[in-house]
C-alpha cells in the first residue's frame, strides 16, 4: 500500500494507543459501576469513604456536660431546655483545644430568631412568648435582663 495512506493510519492507531495508556494511568482502579445501576452508581468508590471521613464539628450537649456541668444542669431544667448549646455558642469542633474558648454571642438578634413577634396566630411560632424588638427595651442586650440559660419572668 502507498505510504501516504499508511501514515495517517499509523497516526490514528498511535493516538488510540496513547489514549488507552493515559486512561490506564489516570483513571483509578475503583472507578466504575460500583452498585446496581450504570446510571446511578458509576463513580469512584473511595469517594464514599472520603465523605464518611469528613470532620464533624457539632458535638452535642453530652459533650459540654463533661466540663460545663453547671450550665448544662441549669439549661436542661429551664424553659430553654430544648435549645442545643451549640445553637447559641457555635460548633465546638475541638474546643477546648481548638478553639480554646467559644465566642459568646450577646446580640439581640440571637434571641429574636425565636422571640421577635410575627402576626401569625396559626403558626407554631406563636406558642413562643414574643416581643416587638423595636419596642421592648431597645438598645439593651437581652441578657442584661434575661438569663439565656434559664429565662424566668417570675424572677424578673
Amino acid at each position: 500500500m502507498k505510504n501516504h495512506v499508511l501514515r495517517p493510519l499509523w497516526c490514528v492507531l498511535a493516538a488510540i494507543a496513547l489514549t488507552l495508556i493515559v486512561r490506564h494511568f489516570m483513571v483509578p482502579a475503583d472507578f466504575g459501576v460500583n452498585g446496581e445501576s450504570f446510571t446511578y452508581s458509576y463513580h469512584r468508590l473511595s469517594n464514599v469513604d472520603e465523605w464518611r471521613d469528613f470532620k464533624a464539628k457539632y458535638k452535642g450537649r453530652e459533650y459540654c456536660q463533661e466540663c460545663h456541668e453547671e450550665n448544662v444542669a441549669e439549661t436542661s431544667s429551664s424553659k430553654h431546655q430544648l435549645i442545643q448549646c451549640e445553637n447559641c455558642h457555635g460548633p465546638a469542633i475541638d474546643h477546648p483545644d481548638d478553639p480554646e474558648t467559644l465566642a459568646i454571642d450577646t446580640s439581640r438578634e440571637l434571641c429574636l430568631r425565636c422571640h421577635a413577634s410575627l402576626p401569625y396566630p396559626d403558626n407554631p411560632r406563636s406558642r413562643i412568648k414574643a416581643i416587638d424588638p423595636n419596642r421592648h427595651n431597645t438598645d439593651t442586650a437581652c441578657i442584661e435582663c434575661h438569663n439565656p440559660h434559664n429565662p424566668n419572668l417570675e424572677e424578673g
Binding site: 464533624a56 435549645i83 445553637n87 421577635a116
Partner: protein, 256 residues
C-alpha cells in the same frame, strides 16, 4: 411397623445433618448487628420534615453551613427555610432571606407590609436535597462525578467534578449550587459523615422543635419510617417521577 433400608438411611442422614447444625445458626440478629454485617445494605436514609412544628428560627441553616464548611456569607446554602404567608385574597407571599440563616424576625416580606387582618395562613417550610431514588442530577453527569451510594444518598466527588453545571440545571428542586471555594457542584449529603457514624445530621440536631428527623426507611421499627408508613405524608414535585426520599407532614399545595 416395618422399616425399609432406604427409609432408615434417609432418616439417619437427616438426623446427622440436623445434629451438626450449630446452635448459632438459629440466633436472631439485632438490627444493628445485621447492619454491621452487611455494610450499607439494609439502610435507606429518609428524611421527615414536619412543617407544623417549624418556627423559622433558622438554626438548622446556620448549623448546616458551619458543619459542612459552606461559606457563611455567600448566598448559597445546602438547606434553607421558606416563609409562606397566604393572604385572604389567595395571594401567596414567599421569602427566604439568606436562606433563613438568621431566622425570620421581620413581619415584612420582601419589603412588603402585610396587614395582620389580611393573613389567612402562614407556615415555614424547611427544604433540602430530596436524595431522590431516581436522581435527575446523577443521570446528566457526563463524568461520573455524582452518584448514589448503596444507602441512597447522592454525593459529589469533588476530585472528579469538572464543574460543568449540568446537574445544577437538572435538579427540579434547585438544591444544587456551585461551591464558591472548591469550584465544583455542591449539595446536601444528609451529613453523610455524621449519619454513617451513628449521629444525626447537623440540622436535625440543631432543631429544637422536632421539625426535622432522619431515619432508615428499611427499618420498620424506625420512628421516622413508622410515621411515613402510617400518616399522611407528601413529597415535593411528585409529578417529576424522581421519587424524593424527603417526606413532608402538613405540606400545603402552595409549596412547590
Amino acid at each position: 411397623m416395618s422399616c425399609s433400608r432406604r427409609k432408615l438411611l434417609k432418616s439417619a442422614l437427616s438426623a446427622s445433618v440436623a445434629a451438626s447444625l450449630p446452635l448459632s445458626a438459629f440466633r436472631f440478629l439485632s438490627p444493628a448487628e445485621c447492619k454491621a454485617a452487611t455494610g450499607t445494605e439494609g439502610t435507606r436514609w429518609g428524611f421527615l420534615v414536619d412543617t407544623n412544628k417549624c418556627v423559622g428560627c433558622g438554626f438548622c441553616v446556620k448549623a448546616c453551613k458551619k458543619e459542612n464548611e459552606v461559606p457563611y456569607d455567600a448566598p448559597v446554602t445546602r438547606t434553607w427555610v421558606e416563609r409562606y404567608v397566604v393572604t385572604k385574597d389567595s395571594k401567596t407571599h414567599i421569602d427566604s432571606p439568606m436562606g433563613g440563616r438568621d431566622g425570620f424576625t421581620d413581619p415584612k416580606i420582601r419589603g412588603e407590609e402585610i396587614a395582620p387582618a389580611d393573613i389567612a395562613k402562614t407556615f415555614f417550610v424547611p427544604k433540602l436535597c430530596n436524595q431522590c431514588e431516581n436522581p435527575a442530577c446523577v443521570q446528566v453527569c457526563p463524568v461520573g462525578a455524582t452518584y448514589q451510594t448503596g444507602d441512597g444518598v447522592v454525593l459529589v466527588d469533588r476530585k472528579w467534578c469538572i464543574g460543568c453545571g449540568y446537574c445544577i440545571m437538572a435538579c427540579p428542586y434547585g438544591v444544587r449550587f456551585f461551591h464558591p471555594v472548591h469550584k465544583v457542584a455542591e449539595k446536601c449529603t444528609f451529613c453523610y459523615h455524621r449519619i454513617s457514624n451513628g449521629q444525626q445530621t447537623a440540622c436535625v440536631d440543631a432543631c429544637s422543635f422536632g421539625a426535622r428527623q432522619i431515619g432508615n426507611l428499611l427499618d420498620q421499627n424506625d420512628p421516622v419510617t413508622k410515621i411515613i408508613m402510617t400518616e399522611r405524608v407528601a413529597v415535593l414535585k411528585d409529578e417529576y417521577g424522581t421519587k424524593p426520599q424527603v417526606f413532608y407532614l402538613g405540606l400545603d399545595r402552595n409549596v412547590r
